[in-house]
């Protein structure tokens, strides 16, 4: 870590702050925090423009395009939440001097392999989040705080899946 980069915040304070943001979200809007749904809205909107006949009758795309959900597929709650997440991350990164183009990986990993695995991980992440009806924020964090049974089942399985795979991809990180 170079001199101008400030150290990361204590994880317990960061977690406490995140918990207060989550609590405020429930108290103000009645819903938790989320992210993955924004990508489903985006893809559904793209599909409705380039291949409307192809997706007709597909319950997945139609759910995200439903007028009851949002007046326009991109005027969706989670799409705006993700815009906020990017803004908040950028502000914090600028303050800490951590904004620059880079590829994050372990010292032994090749850049091309890292980028390919990042892409593959993203695909798995979307499929998993859709099956589970939420990602780390929408399910584990938001549902966890409500003591939602399914969220806790999900969270335990996320850690199990990751720990079982960690050894296979250790060269990427260690």
């Amino acid at each position: 870590m170079t001199k101008e980069q400030k150290r990361y915040m204590n994880p317990y304070w960061a977690g406490f702050g995140l918990g207060l943001v989550l609590l405020s979200s429930y108290l103000i809007t009645g819903r938790g925090l989320g992210a993955s749904g924004a990508f489903a809205s985006f893809v559904s909107w793209v599909m409705s423009n380039i291949a409307p006949d192809h997706i007709a009758g597909n319950g997945f795309f139609e759910k995200y395009l439903a007028p009851e959900r949002a007046a326009h597929p991109l005027k969706d709650y989670l799409v705006f939440q993700v815009i906020g997440i990017a803004l908040g991350g950028l502000v914090s990164g600028v303050i800490a001097g951590r904004v620059r183009f880079s590829i994050d990986r372990g010292p032994q990993a090749a850049n091309a392999a890292r980028l390919a695995l990042a892409f593959a991980g993203g695909i798995l992440m979307s499929v998993g989040a859709q099956l589970a009806r939420g990602c780390t924020s929408g399910q584990a964090l938001s549902g966890g705080a409500l003591l939602n049974l399914g969220s806790w089942i999900f969270m335990i399985c996320v850690f199990v899946g990751a720990y079982l795979t960690a050894y296979l991809v250790r060269r990427q990180w260690l």
Binding site: R31, Y77, A86, V158, A162, Y163, T165
Partner: protein, 203 residues
């Protein structure tokens, strides 16, 4: 005055999308502060030498859980109006496992990948590309996956209702597990400190 404020007309529903952005800013800011704009920092959780992911998630859950519990007990928060995802046991088991594998392979989860993109991580941009591709793939496969995705439903289900334990007892149990986990995290971090890669100069 009753919470959720927006559902009880204390705050106008017109503000919904602005609230979504504002809460997102708070979330993104804190994720970046904690170091979660870095895949290496996030993946460290799965090699035990830096347990920040566990610490942040569990501190956040305990904080929000306690607030929700106390404010619903005082009658300020109407839990019946709070949105809750239904429990679908097998889809959530399989989805959780797949997402966990994707987490350690890709290095991010959706929220943290957005933060990492905003701070210039090229791998996070590829990860987001993967998210988009994955949503397309899931949508295309949905007609054959739907049957499984909607299986083993228990409806909206909480731990305390399902196991018929008092709400407050589960709250105490989660706090105890979290405190035990924080103690355990410090122990394993010391034990696995040798796995920490030497800091390399920026690429």
């Amino acid at each position: 005055m009753t919470a959720p404020l927006i559902l009880n007309d204390v705050i106008s529903a017109d503000c919904t999308l602005w609230l979504a952005v504002s809460l997102g800013i708070g979330m993104g800011f804190l994720l970046e502060r904690a170091g979660f704009g870095s895949a290496k920092k996030l993946a460290a959780q799965f090699y035990f030498y830096d347990m920040a992911v566990f610490k942040v998630i569990f501190t956040a859950i305990v904080t929000a859980m306690l607030g929700i519990f106390l404010l619903s007990r005082t009658g300020f928060l109407d839990l019946g109006q709070v949105a809750m995802v239904g429990t679908f046991v097998w889809p959530q088991v399989v989805g959780g496992l797949i997402l966990g594998v994707g987490f350690v392979i890709g290095g991010y989860c959706p929220g943290t990948s957005v933060v990492a993109c905003a701070t210039g991580k090229l791998d996070a941009m590829l990860f987001v590309g993967g998210l988009v591709a994955g949503m397309f793939l899931f949508g295309e496969l949905y007609p054959s996956l739907q049957c499984f995705a909607d299986s083993s439903s228990l409806g909206k289900q909480t731990i305390y209702d399902y196991f018929r334990i008092p709400y407050g007892a589960v709250v105490l149990l989660v706090i105890a597990v979290a405190l035990g986990g924080f103690w355990g995290a410090a122990v394993v971090e010391k034990k696995f400190a040798y796995l920490k890669p030497k800091d390399r100069p920026p690429q």
